[in-house]
Symmetry: D2
């Protein structure tokens, strides 16, 4: 604790890392930002300067030796999550881990085990659960406004082209992991159940440079699924769509339906006699769309530490998403239905 505030260190100074860092630096009342870590020392230094903080590290090992720190936010590449989380837990510090939790279900289980053993909090970064519109929808479902849930359909389509490190699906887990982890969690959250069977189709439509060397790579995916409690699910995901950040959910119930999200950006509509069409701007990025959700997530993390309560999104939630991602990738690669 520093000045009676929980001292947080963010590991990974990329775009998502900086969102968390700014939140803890300025907008979470009971927390402060104590340090940032990036394995590229220059990136770490630049981030610290931008955030107006004194401490930065180029390795987790060094950050873990900083006794002032109470909690770590893990925003490093997924393949390092397990070792990083284990080291933090063994140091007795709390963890907010970005999605995807890890590369395999086994890694997730190991992370959960070690955190339990060392009695530290482990919260997963499914920030959509903190978004105001998702919460309102969840309340509507819980209050029975659409009867019993029948089907959940969720899609996330990102505007930017996948980076080459994603091309090897066996190492990156692909768009299902990087983009659709959120949809998978949303489907679990609204059905209140676990995936039972699924079938996914993937294809590479926008990355010709990956085709020869990485024939398994896909930048677009559709999936149909059944859940253990008999409900149904659909998911689609895309990278490089260009036009917008397009995240939408529909929840169909026995007595109604809820639809969440839209590609419409701020409300400027232009009607033109040149085109005889009306037009409006589109949502540019997850960073603008879910800005408040990230903040609420970070505040919830601090609260669960201070009040010693279970995180709202646990390691189990992280593990189940990884399990579905892997099953989805198997379905795509082996062109078959998978039972979980």
């Amino acid at each position: 604790m520093i000045h009676n505030k929980l001292a947080v260190c963010v590991i990974g100074a990329g775009r998502a890392g900086m969102i968390h860092a700014v939140n803890f630096a300025k907008h979470v009342p009971d927390a402060l930002l104590a340090a940032v870590v990036d394995t590229q020392e220059e990136a770490a230094r630049a981030a610290a300067e931008k955030l107006d903080i004194a401490h930065y590290y180029s390795s987790c090992a060094h950050a873990l030796m900083d006794d002032r720190i109470d909690a770590y936010v893990v925003v490093s590449p997924t393949k390092y999550h397990m070792e990083t989380v284990k080291a933090i837990a063994e140091a007795g510090k709390h963890i907010l881990c970005e999605k995807p939790m890890a590369m395999t279900e086994e890694e997730c289980e190991e992370m959960i085990r070690v955190c339990r053993q060392h009695k530290v909090k482990l919260q997963l970064g499914f920030m959509r659960r903190f978004d105001e519109s998702f919460r309102q929808a969840k309340n509507m479902v819980d209050y029975g406004e659409i009867g019993e849930v029948v089907m959940v359909r969720s899609n996330t389509r990102g505007p930017s082209i996948p980076r080459p490190w994603m091309y090897d699906i066996r190492k990156s887990n692909g768009p299902l992991a990087e983009v659709n982890s959120h949809d998978i969690d949303t489907m679990r959250w609204f059905t209140g159940s676990e995936f039972q069977t699924l079938y996914a189709v993937g294809g590479n439509y926008r990355c010709p440079d990956a085709r020869e060397q990485f024939p398994e790579f896909y930048d677009n995916v559709v999936m149909a699924a059944s859940f253990a409690n008999g409900m149904q699910g659909m998911l689609d995901g895309a990278q490089g769509v260009g036009y917008a950040y397009d995240a939408k959910v529909e929840i169909l119930g026995t007595k109604g339906a809820i639809s969440l999200g839209s590609v419409k950006g701020n409300d400027v509509v232009l009607c033109s006699s040149a085109s005889q069409r009306g037009s409006y701007p589109l949502v540019e990025s997850w960073r603008t769309l879910f800005k408040d959700a990230y903040l609420k997530e970070d505040r919830a993390f601090i609260d669960c530490i201070l009040q010693d309560k279970e995180p709202a999104v646990t390691g189990i939630d992280g593990k189940m998403a990884v399990k579905v991602v892997n099953a989805g990738n198997i379905s795509i690669m082996e062109k078959r239905m998978v039972t979980l």
Copy 2:
């Protein structure tokens, strides 16, 4: 009556006239189209052929001698309305008269008087009252869903450029008559009251060829008004906007608000990565937007004749709109508030 159906004759084979003609020819069960009239004989002949009917006339006088006909729809230019309606009434036949009813309040009163004297029906062509969405809004108001009405705001903006015969406002009554008669009726309908004071501003923004010779001509108008029962009104009108047929209404009450209409055409939304904007088609014309309303209006006209009941929109409604148009034009030309 022909074959037990009310025989209708449409006077005026322009766009609005043809809508009525097609309706009576095909879609009004208890009516049939017996003849069309157009002072341009060729237009009358072509219309009859298109409508697949045998009779057409190039003058009202001839049409009035056709004994088979029970009712006339007057869609000729406004300046001929009074003489035409009077002649029809004196022949003992019923009348559906398009808006605007006439050029002056006095003409309207004379038309009402003669129709009453000869006990014929006189229905005015404010077809928006028959539009499904307007009716739903009226029901909401009547059932108190927005409390007491406070203010009605109505606008109509047409895509097409005014034709030169409108340039002389003193002869044509201008856009307030040709375009905004509907808004005036809508405001009267939803307030349930009469205009008391008004102030209107007009200007010519799109018709440079009219500026020198017709300095009083306006193609855009705004108006603020008070009603006898203390409610408020706003109106705006335009010709030649190009982008769409833009007719919208807002009704503000003490406990809520209703909004009616939109420029959005059929639901095809295009999101493009080229422009990063979403776009949708716009409503093209009053003919598509109010197609069903015209049909319901025509059916209501036949019903009021067959069941000998008062038309839903009377000569009084026509007269009050003309009165407001004239007051509006005086306000624009003399740049002053007018008390009605």
Copy 3:
């Protein structure tokens, strides 16, 4: 031909049958309605009276003996389609056949064969292809406005509860046939390709009375699919959703996306201080939503006969949809991915 017009007979006087009947009776210029058929004689008689026509029959056999008739619209239950269509073709008359085309792929092939042999037109009733917004979307796709198509997602959810004759999926082919035939055709149309693999999940959520006796019955279905040309597809279908007729399509391309359809009915928005929510009416029925599409379909049918050209929607289109329906039902029942 009667009076130089193609004489049409509608077989089946239910809701969809009456839409076609009214169209041919009143709204298709080169056609007239010569007769209606319904195996319930009383229904046939009532329909003829309502349509103001003199001839009705209680069997196809009798209708086929009416020499005046040039073309038949088959709107009878699906299981009778093959025998009816074959009899019409053998009589040398043209056929507009409602969807689903038949119960099995083999039946479809037989129907196509016989129609070819007798050189009669066979048009399938996928009227969405004639809907103005679908056509606009197709044009956008064809003109490359969204680049290459990547994925098509289509859903149809009907408000009304399935009728008991649908409960036995092996006899009725279920909601995939009755509701989603349209989505299947839409996906084929926009991908320009055929289904290759699919996986579907079905469940019965709203029809408790069917559960015991018809455990295979489903009233909700989700499906993921791949196409022969590598594109992807998603579909969901429902019966008895209650809230609206909810038919929407998204077409995702490499350079943009198109979204088609909405549950929003006519534009009356109510904002209320009681609920602090805005609300709008929902689309009630396919009959209102696709009213114009049915009319254009019927006109296209007459045109293809008069101009002796290929129908816009052929027996092949009908057969392929049946094939997908059957594959989908197998996928649901055997809980496995199916390769077509």
Copy 4:
């Protein structure tokens, strides 16, 4: 300057004051919040505590003696604006003054004169000019996307009931000042011109307790106006509408139209079979709708001081809005058109 940052003091710890205070305390990089002032000492103390700052004052006089402070934000009641702004200017400090600028045009002129004399910045609080959607619309207009501007229509309707201190219009200037100052500025901004004539209608529909003692009070107003450059304007304002914070603008041009704003809140749409209507939440408050605009306004204020440039919104802008408010109130009270 404190720690190389501009030290700002906020005068008035109400809702709008706290928005500015939080902005300067946390979100404006080159500024810090040095103190807050409220004449109710307890309110000042509570605000300082909440903002985590050490200094608060219960009078402007004391705040002006705090040498550390570089700039003051005036959010006190309008009637104190002139004396406060003059005192600050005479102390040589910069001023961000909330709208309405003052009670009369003469007061505004005096404020402008004194600020010029003492060479201090005077920025007016029309924060909508900093809102992202307003800026986009302004850019569209400036780039000619709708041709030449013809008409600007702006409305602001607030959900909450007027407080009794507003009842005496001669002292409070009423809703035109408190609510519609923003619309007046928006109309000036988009027309690039000044009001020339106007006619306004006011009425009291929601405050029965004010009727007897304050017959001139209005809680709803409509206005039509002409501008010096020949453009047209419409405005409507309301207090106590209950359903939402409803601020919308339409800009009609010779080649198109722009519409700005909507009452739709975050994107959760509920379709229910109980009501067969879809519904969405409504915007609750100007505080949520214009949260970012306030922040950008505050940043712009600091920038104009540091870079010694003219504020984006000047005292002239403030004065012209006051002039229109007063003309509007005269129009309402004397029931006549007013020429400015």
